[in-house]
């Protein structure tokens, strides 16, 4: 098991590091341009008093996706039969980034924004395996509708938190870091672990710019798509079929319940303010 973890570390470690460097570098390149075209004025829930550039999320999203796809191109085995899902997640992430970018520059009507968010999140849910059911006691269609609702809520929640300096970093780094650790232990599939590694690296690259008082915000272009990415990762965490350690004798039902509780507990990070 230790050999396996070291082998995975050789993939996930460089992935996080490259994403960090790429995100940081892109942030440096984009910041002057964002300061000219994408300033955000403080509002009631802002923790800043001066107009501040937004749009740093472009660097986070680009670094995460480019590095994750780069790693997959180098080692296609990482996809592990999840190519369809990864394509859907990438397309949906790009769609949310475009919606966010437009909304950052000129405000979109709320109904149009919500409809486009539902399309993006619906595409990701549609790409999940048909046989997947998190709660077998609940009808499949109701569970899928619940996932759509939860997805829309989660994406907008992440977006809401972007107004507070470092809050998104404080939420994403521990959660994605834990998913990477579970990936090292073999408790999640290689692809979600890879995406988590790229995302944690990219967020750490963003952290110096968002340190209070923030010099740069993610903007909708970043907060919506990374909310989707984290939501997808959390679903993967719940449904992942693998386990890290040999299990002691226990009933199948107890195992299943324990697994679900463990994964739900990491799936619900506290949200402050």
């Amino acid at each position: 098991m230790i050999e396996q973890a070291i082998e995975r570390l050789w993939v996930l470690g460089p992935t996080a590091l490259v994403a960090l460097v790429l995100s940081f570098g892109l942030m440096l390149l984009l910041r002057p341009w964002l300061a000219r075209y994408a300033m955000v004025r403080p509002n009631a829930r802002s923790s800043h008093y001066q107009p501040t550039p937004q749009g740093g999320g472009i660097a986070v999203v680009v670094a995460t996706l480019v590095v994750a796809w780069g790693a997959v191109a180098l080692s296609p085995a990482l996809l592990h039969n999840q190519a369809g899902q990864f394509l859907a997640v990438t397309a949906a992430t790009a769609l949310l980034a475009v919606i966010g970018a437009i909304d950052d520059v000129r405000s979109l009507p709320a109904a149009a924004r919500l409809a486009l968010q539902c399309i993006a999140i619906g595409a990701v849910i549609t790409a999940l395996p048909n046989e997947l059911q998190i709660l077998p006691q609940v009808p499949w269609s109701i569970e899928r509708a619940g996932l759509l609702l939860a997805g829309v809520w989660f994406v907008n929640l992440v977006n809401f938190m972007d107004g507070i300096d470092w809050m998104t970093v404080a939420e994403f780094v521990p959660v994605t870091g834990a998913i990477v650790l579970l990936g090292l232990a073999g408790a999640v599939e290689p692809l979600p672990a890879l995406v988590a590694a790229a995302l944690v690296g990219a967020m750490i690259g963003f952290a110096p710019f968002n340190r209070p008082v923030a010099q740069l915000f993610l903007g909708d272009v970043g907060s919506l798509p990374i909310g989707l990415l984290l939501g997808w990762l959390l679903v993967q965490l719940i449904i992942s079929p693998t386990r890290p350690l040999p299990s002691p004798p226990a009933s199948c039902e107890a195992k299943r319940s324990g697994k679900l509780i463990a994964r739900i507990s990491i799936s619900a990070p506290p949200i402050a303010a």
């Binding site: 404080a170 386990r243 226990a250 507990s265 303010a273």
Partner: protein, 58 residues
């Protein structure tokens, strides 16, 4: 309470929750899972109580 203090508390709470989740996966036992879930709930309650206290004092 400053923004930095609030964010530090949220970050530490998230770290604690992540650690609890890792313990549940490693232990692979329903009793441990429930204990960790309860501990996580208490930690989040504490965080919310701290924030509510700050708000009320104002």
């Amino acid at each position: 309470m400053t923004v930095r203090e609030i964010v530090t508390r949220v970050f530490l709470t998230n770290l604690a929750l992540a650690a609890l989740a890792l313990v549940t996966v490693a232990a692979h036992n329903i009793v441990v899972s429930l204990a960790m879930l309860s501990t996580g709930a208490v930690i989040v309650l504490w965080l919310l109580a701290v924030f509510a206290g700050v708000k009320n004092r104002r």
